[in-house]
Symmetry: C2
Subunit: 121 residues, 2 copies
DNA sequence: GAAAGAAATAGAATAATTCTAAAATCATTA
DNA sequence: TAATGATTTTAGAATTATTCTATTTCTTTC
């Protein structure tokens, strides 16, 4: 656990949004101006592999990262692009029942309108 | 519907795998050597927007495309990387029940071992 | 405090995708 | 059929996200 890794993890933990590597790099630079982009990626990859953070790919953009370590799912608002975490604890078992095989893990992004955007319609 | 678009759609329809833009480009070139990569992307994007084909993003690699128009889900084998379609018709309703909101659509990739790889373990 | 190993840095390299400008194709109307 | 305008394709440059590489800086241990 280097200072850089600590910084990056801190940034992710404190953010309620899911950040791109670029955003993390920018925020990290504010606190540690010498940090390099490769360091950000190195650490994001390492922590992702270790399961400490989570990488999520969304259509039309860079990968996002979040510090939430518990498995969880995602709501994506197609109107404003906001990405929210949601926990569907029963889903894994449900999926295993449906495919008749053990599920290692899964990635789920649900497209829906966020409450704010729904109200505007 | 240009000749190029027809060709690309044909390639996708006839493939049982999910192809990358690169693979589609290669296959298209065999039939129409003058076709350009940009044309492949133009058409893939257009057809994806129109809902005729489906783009799917998988960790660590290029986007894949498939012609299957019905909504469906994906099984990804973490061992050999094989990506298979699966239909879970009840899931959408199940999700709507759980999030208490209408679900526009959703993307699901289930990580599991394919039968072949499971046998080898 | 020197040596060894691990991680960080800077910048080049790669891969996937998009953009741009010119040429080709197509459909429509004169 | 010729002219017109719109759309699409083409080729290659440009961009974006990410990884790689070689060198430097930190840590840790002796």
């Amino acid at each position: 656990m280097t200072r850089q890794r600590e910084l990056i993890l801190g940034i992710l933990s404190q953010s309620d949004r899911h950040l791109t590597a670029d955003e993390i790099f920018f925020l990290a630079k504010l606190k540690m101006p010498t940090i390099a982009m490769a360091t950000v990626y190195n650490n994001l990859n390492a922590m992702n592999e270790a399961g400490v953070i989570h990488r999520i790919r969304v259509d039309g953009g860079a990968d996002r990262f979040s510090a939430v370590s518990e498995p969880h799912d995602h709501l994506l608002c197609d109107e404003c692009g906001k990405l929210t975490d949601i926990r569907l604890p029963k889903l894994k078992v449900e999926l295993e029942k449906q495919i008749h095989s053990p599920v290692d893990s899964y990635d789920l992004v649900i497209h829906t309108l966020c409450p704010a955007c729904r109200r505007k319609k």
